[in-house]
Symmetry: C2
Subunit: 494 residues, 2 copies
């Protein structure tokens, strides 16, 4: 039976996935510094074997045969998602993949070096090479998937997302934000005039911050028997659903960046820990995509963790662990701090979308060929000035060289971040409609009902639906910018 | 070129080895408790793939072709060791291996349960099944390797070791020890009469013990950029040569068991960290076998770590970390404590060999068929009484049920422990002959010359020689019990 063959293949591939996920998390947390070269060789060999096994031509026959078999609805969905996955994996010729991998690795190495030095001219030829190949890739994917080129790239990260649908939503958001950012800054200035910012005391031992983080993780639903918290240079959520590894980085001078980071990664972890276990080895059992994943992490960080109601419950917990008493207003002044800046990863939730929209617009032009890499610094700077009133023309390391995405040929990924923020707000609105007392629950430290809602509508669904389908099924309507705008207005508008 | 094909195969297999080693170490140190089932499934799937890839029939042709190629001496050695490895891996039919794996897993599970209850009768049928298969295995291996059945089993752990050569050496050791143990106990009683045992203070914080352990690891040669120290329930040395994971377990009431354990595992780690890196992916580049490995760990634990000269250097280090001042005599009374007991893993270096010789004798009889499993409790008890004056007839959990080796079908492994102790002593004697001031070096905390000697003669040799060849090349003579007897006599005889 072909379904059975696919099931066995999935189990073999799952073993590779498991190994690569744990080896990857281990590399960032527990590996000895001298172990890197052997680790990289082992991981790339395993990844290569997994790729060969998952793209073998006979699999196409198994899928076709399985589609003709008498399967129940869930099995049918599993085969359909397998086919989607297989098509995306096999639509590029392997010599192209090898060429692209080499180009991307060289470009990433060069990028690290040249960004350090702010040397745009030194990096440009490598980026041009990557973009040439990305255009080629987009056209091959477009052909195989019968999609527009940029849509075919996005399809890898968020199945079903289309630029034609995202562009108007992002447009609405951009128009709103260009006016709203100054307004939010004025409102913030007025608040700070009434009550000046209380400085953090600057003495937060790592072990106490860790205990605080663990207690908040557990409170919001992280299953500590199936995951852990470690330290790494760049925070991440990795591992496998039965052993989710989240990480943070502590500064003893302040506790909020680590705590908010932990809540963010906990959001990713909740999704992973609550995926449908019986389909764990099939693509059907994996998380839907990057926008949905980001919506789950941002939900815990922003809708829960930066919600005033949350701090009614959280302030005594902080006091208990860190020995410091804060008032709501004092802590919210930190938690809701808005400050336009050049760097996307440091941005607050008000200005962040403008960073993403800038990239979304530019990368579409790069892929379509209406923009060339050599013109990026000017194009970037022009939009940066228009959207945030800032200039990067003299500091390319803070402009088009700031992110790893383009140097590593990940075009079509950026929109996921802001789609995630919008989906999170839309999810909150839907929850509030179903449970009008949700803020009271959160103020009481009770996250059960919120998690049950999300488990039922999102987490348990795995990859059963496309991203837009999942949004509509979970929240009752297609992606709608209004919820996010209302969220920003309520939190930052006055 | 077939040598090249083997080289590529070795690289693929190395990726599996790497993954399995790190996943195994991670499981015991950092894995979330709920991650066990998925981890076991991933590891057994990877191990199965590795086994299939390493036993493919075409490999036999590649080896034969490589043997006919124009290779240098080292490459020839690599191919020869590859053949030995391949022959040992492929000499059992795969349906037998599957049957044995199932039997062994059931037997191990039952053993854990029945040992807990001391239920010999409940465990016996499972052990009988394992022994039946072990006899079958020994005969198949014997046929393939042209060895005696028990030798063919030992060949998996220590290539070249033969019962006919070990038996007289163990006989000499046994005859010595049966008289020596009471004498050592009398000598100990006299010492304790002169100076009563000073109690440990009982308050040793884990973090300080860890720092002490790390500083001693580094001092005796462990490269902390290519390895680490963690905590696990059972101490082990795992990981890969570029990232060696050693573990310990702390008791806050005393510090010596953890410290001695760390030195022991550090001995294993030094061997791994100093294997020939360019052959890391070939069998030639792996450690020789269990007896040599144990000789390297025991050397660091016993020849260095329990050496009075070592404590001249170590006592100030202990004082520095734990804030406790000890005299040489006070610490040596703990470090050289002798006490006959029922449990092998708790035994001191004087009584340990008798535990091993007992098992070596009994397991040969079990394999040859002159002893049946049902008669084990009586046979065990008779030897226990003869060798150590202790009885296990009413506590089978402390007798033939105490070790995992037989329940898991590892016959031929036990001699490695005591061979390791003897090789360590013989190595020390050879070093002392080459460097008469070795004790002065150790008393000064200088382990460079000792490590250089071992790196040159043992570690860098990988699997180039059989176990007896390596012993003779490194120490200038075949295995000779006299060195170990002299060591015991000098340390415990008066």
């Amino acid at each position: 039976m072909s379904f059975q063959k696919l099931d066995e293949l999935c189990r073999r591939l799952q073993a590779f996935d498991h190994a690569l996920a744990i080896l990857g998390a281990d590399e960032a947390t527990h590996m000895a510094p001298g172990g890197g070269e052997a680790r990289a060789e082992a991981m790339s060999t395993l990844a290569g074997m997994a790729h060969r096994q998952s793209t073998a031509p006979e699999i196409g026959d198994w899928i076709a045969a399985a589609e003709a078999e008498d399967l129940n609805a869930e099995e049918k969905a599993a085969v359909a998602e397998f086919r989607r996955h297989y098509t995306n994996l096999t639509c590029l010729p392997s010599d192209f993949v090898e060429r692209q991998t080499r180009t991307r690795m060289r470009s990433e190495q060069l990028w690290r070096e040249m960004r350090e030095r702010g040397d745009w001219a030194g990096f440009l030829p490598a980026l041009e090479g990557v973009i040439d190949l990305a255009r080629e890739e987009a056209h091959m994917r477009a052909e195989a998937l019968d999609l527009a080129p940029y849509d075919a790239l996005m399809e890898q990260y968020d199945p079903g997302n289309r630029a034609a649908e995202i562009t108007p939503v992002f447009g609405e958001l951009k128009n709103f934000l260009v006016d709203f950012v100054p307004r939010a800054l004025e409102a913030q200035a007025r608040r700070l005039e009434r009550q000046p910012l209380r400085a953090l005391s600057g003495s937060y031992p790592v072990e106490r911050q860790r205990e605080l983080g663990l207690s908040m993780m557990a409170a919001v639903g992280f299953d500590l028997t199936r995951g852990s918290l470690s330290v790494s240079h760049h925070p991440f959520c990795g591992g496998v659903p039965t052993d989710v590894r989240i990480t943070t980085r502590y500064k003893t001078g302040e506790f909020l960046s680590s705590l908010m980071g932990i809540l963010h990664e906990t959001g990713h972890a909740l999704y992973e820990q609550n995926l449908p276990a019986r389909w764990a080895h099939w693509p059907l059992g994996k998380a839907r995509g990057m926008a949905i994943h980001e919506s789950q992490s941002l939900f815990v960080e922003k809708q829960i963790g930066r919600n005033p109601a949350f701090w009614e419950w959280a302030l005594p917990v902080v006091e208990n662990h860190l020995g410091e008493k804060w008032s709501q207003d004092e802590i919210l002044a930190h938690v809701h701090h808005v400050e336009p800046g050049l760097i996307r990863v440091d941005a607050d939730e008000v200005t962040y979308p403008l960073h993403v929209i800038l990239r979304f617009e530019l990368e579409q032009e790069l892929i379509s060929g209406t923009l060339e890499a050599r013109d990026l610094p000017e194009a970037w700077d022009a939009r940066m000035r228009a959207y945030l009133g800032l200039s990067t023309i003299d500091t390319p390391q803070d402009g088009p060289m700031q992110d790893v995405h383009w140097p590593s040929a990940a075009f079509g990924y950026f929109p996921s971040y802001t789609l995630g923020a919008m989906i999170a707000a839309q999810q909150w609105a839907a929850i509030e409609k179903d449970m009008p007392d949700v803020n009271a629950q959160i103020a009481a430290g009770d996250f059960e009902a919120v998690n049950a809602w999300r488990r039922d509508r999102i987490w348990s669904q795995g990859s059963r639906w496309s991203t837009p389908e999942l949004i509509e099924r979970a929240t009752g309507e297609p992606l709608n910018a209004a919820h996010f705008l209302r969220h920003l207005e309520a939190r930052y508008g006055a």
